[in-house]
């Protein structure tokens, strides 16, 4: 079920005759349609966040779709993930979302030149040779939130199905898996959910699916035979967090088979300082930014280290109780936090990537974790 909707579609005149454009317009239903030839930047200058999130801009993109995940600055370990920036922008409205700062109040953008994405992916994968690549399109959007308009999931599943060294991840907070379930499964396609207790979902993750809906969707995907992943990110401190995360992990493993989980990540709430003012302005009811937080070595605001370690240790031990062998990692954390929580630390980003690669090879060979 979707709680958000598209109210307006703006079509770049250069792509108005594309089949994809007419398909999106048809699926969007009776919404306001406008054609523009203006440059995107000047045209959308005065958008509010609310307008942006309910407006869809259909255009083409001449640049590079495939990029390395920007990760974070020095002092913290990153895993060497790759991202495909299609679509750009998210109709969901999480209070803590970095896209508010990164993209600003701009409309959702769908690039209709899928041929170019395909060509770029071909070139990119050729360059990578036998390396194991983890790639996803959930960096600048929710991977499935706009799937009802364009069947991106079908495009990506069809493209990556036979790319045996590649693991493609759909990262979502929705329950919109119907389109994906129409296709045969394969073990290198991962559907992942960002999870938080329902109290956080209700207060901070606006327009996202309820917790039980996310787990229900994951269950369907598991049943279909795709692999799963979960992101406990951002982990959030608040009164009663321990009990809530306990309940959440308990519920998750009531329905999900650990052997179908490719990986689980944990990351504590963190954001650039400039996002703080946006959250204050847009979500005055949210209190998550007022905890004891410091500016980290990468310039981002994060919980003080002892609190992060406490959070990670608790959640990690809960996961380990239910799934002792599932592959877990910390997202954007320092080596000393790794050591305290996991008992070891990758020695560098490169080492981290290699550990991940090894795990992925094993899972791909076995067809399950």
């Amino acid at each position: 079920m979707r709680d958000y909707r598209i109210k307006r579609i703006i079509v770049d005149k250069r792509v108005k005759d594309s089949y994809f454009v007419s398909e999106v317009i048809k699926r969007a239903g009776g919404v306001e349609i406008e054609e523009v030839s203006t440059e995107k930047n000047s045209f959308f200058a005065d958008f509010s966040f609310e307008e942006g999130k309910s407006t869809l801009f259909l255009t083409s993109f001449p640049g590079s779709f495939v990029k390395t995940c920007p990760g974070t600055g020095r002092g913290y370990l990153c895993c060497g993930y790759y991202v495909i920036n299609q679509p750009v922008g998210c109709p969901l409205d999480c209070s803590y979302c970095i896209l508010q700062d990164y993209l600003g109040p701009s409309p959702l953008v769908l690039y209709v030149n899928f041929e170019r994405i395909k060509e770029q992916l071909d070139d990119f994968l050729k360059e990578q040779g036998e390396n194991i690549i983890r790639i996803g399109n959930g960096e600048l959007t929710d991977s499935l939130a706009l799937d009802w308009l364009g069947d991106f999931s079908s495009f990506f599943i069809s493209y990556f199905r036979n790319k045996k060294n590649v693991i493609f991840e759909f990262k979502t907070k929705t329950d919109q898996v119907e389109k994906a379930l129409e296709l045969p499964s394969c073990s290198n396609i991962v559907f992942s959910w960002s999870l938080n207790p329902q109290s956080i979902i209700s207060r901070e993750e606006h327009f996202c699916a309820r917790l039980e809906k996310r787990i229900e969707a994951a269950f369907k995907v598991q049943k279909k035979g795709f692999m799963l992943a979960f992101h406990f990110d951002p982990l959030i401190f608040y009164p009663g967090w321990e009990k809530d995360y306990e309940r959440l992990i308990d519920t998750l493993f009531t329905f999900i088979d650990p052997s179908r989980i490719f990986w689980i990540s944990m990351g504590a709430l963190r954001f650039p300082p400039s996002l703080k003012d946006i959250i204050k302005e847009r979500f005055p009811e949210s209190k998550i930014i007022y905890e004891e937080m410091i500016k980290g070595l990468d310039g981002k605001i994060r919980y003080i280290k002892p609190l992060r370690i406490k959070l990670f240790k608790k959640v990690y031990s809960l996961i380990r109780e239910k799934a002792p062998r599932v592959f877990c990692y910390l997202c954007m954390e320092s080596p000393d936090v790794w050591e305290k929580v996991m008992g070891f630390s990758p020695s560098s980003n490169h080492h981290f990537k290699k550990i991940f690669e090894k795990h992925c090879r094993e899972v791909l060979e076995k067809g399950g974790a």
Partner: protein, 334 residues
């Protein structure tokens, strides 16, 4: 073309300054004193702008309220003035005022002008489209912020203008109650808080208040910072420093506790070994051991001291607290 006649000298008693609808200027006392001195010396050089009232008996003062007030105080008889045509709309009058304004507009003057425009039923977009460049306002969304500022009471605007606050700094007062605004401006006046300190202290107090579910006024009261502001024993910078420290401890209670404990361990360790421990107080960076050595014997002695079981376990304890905090105490979060 908007003027009835050329520049004229008008008797003071014929000027009506009751209606201050168009008065957007700051009333900074030091500027007023300077202006008074200048008028005393050379008279009013910059003419007023007036408009003949409907009764045709008096001239309604449009621009020059400060000059008029000073002229009255100095008992001047006549003032030079331009007379506007009677059929001009308020918006046209405002336009003339802005075009004839000779010095750069201050933040609070811009806010008052936006306030006047809003009272004339102009939308934010119309204000931006028609007057944005004249006012130096670079986007329509900023008009909204100036409009919020225009609703501030006079003492607040006066503080903002006399202490040179930026728009963002000034808007930090917007979500406080009038009583809280007055309390904070009182503190600001006590310490003559300029933009950066004003904004940071206020922002920290507000964040503490939200986290603790209290009013800002109560946090101010509980921290006793007003008393520090009033204390004559301290210099202005000492007061500001103390207040910042109190607020920091309140904002970071757990971090403060951890750092105090670390400092206790460090002192004990240093006195026993002659080595010092240096660490990042935000607990994010690393921990370093440092020591000065006079000669190789001294170095040997210090390293031996370090490796002694009791001393080494102090170092281990330090690292435990540094990384994991105070495990034996209930942390403040959750």
């Amino acid at each position: 073309m908007h003027l009835e006649k050329k520049l004229r000298k008008i008797p003071l008693e014929l000027i009506d300054a009751e209606d201050d609808f168009f008065d957007f200027s700051d009333k900074d006392s030091s500027y007023l004193a300077k202006l008074k001195l200048s008028i005393k010396k050379v008279g009013v050089i910059n003419p007023l702008i007036v408009q003949l009232s409907s009764s045709k008996k008096l001239y309604r003062l449009i621009n020059g309220f400060k000059r008029f007030q000073i002229a009255k105080e100095l008992s001047l008889s006549y003032l030079p003035a331009y007379i506007l045509k009677r059929d001009l709309s308020p918006l046209e009058v405002l336009n003339i005022l802005l075009l004839s304004h000779s010095r750069p507009l201050s933040l609070t003057e811009k806010a008052r002008i936006v306030g006047i425009m809003r009272r004339l039923q102009l939308s934010d977009k119309q204000i931006y489209d028609k007057f944005g460049s004249l006012l130096g306002i670079s986007s329509a969304s900023l008009v909204k912020e100036y409009a919020i500022l225009s609703t501030y009471r006079s003492p607040l605007l006066s503080y903002i203008s006399s202490h040179g606050l930026s728009l963002k700094q000034a808007l930090a007062l917007k979500d406080l109650s009038p009583q809280e605004q007055d309390t904070f401006v009182f503190l600001g006046n006590l310490l003559s808080l300029k933009g950066y300190d004003f904004f940071n202290i206020l922002t920290d107090l507000k964040e503490i208040a939200i986290r603790e579910g209290k009013k800002v006024a109560l946090v101010i009261e509980e921290t006793g910072i007003l008393e520090i502001g009033k204390n004559e024993k301290f210099t202005r910078s000492q007061k500001i420093e103390r207040i910042k420290n109190i607020i920091k401890e309140r904002k970071y209670p757990y971090l403060t506790k951890v750092n105090r404990e670390l400092d206790k361990i460090r002192k004990k360790f240093s006195s026993r070994t002659g080595l010092d421990i240096v660490w990042d107080k935000s607990l994010e960076g690393g921990v370093e051991l440092s020591f000065k050595i006079r000669n190789s014997e001294d170095a040997k002695k210090k390293i031996k001291n370090l490796l002694e079981e009791d001393n080494f376990s102090l170092l281990v304890r330090f690292l435990e607290v540094y990384h994991e905090g105070l495990q034996d105490k209930k942390d403040n979060s959750g």
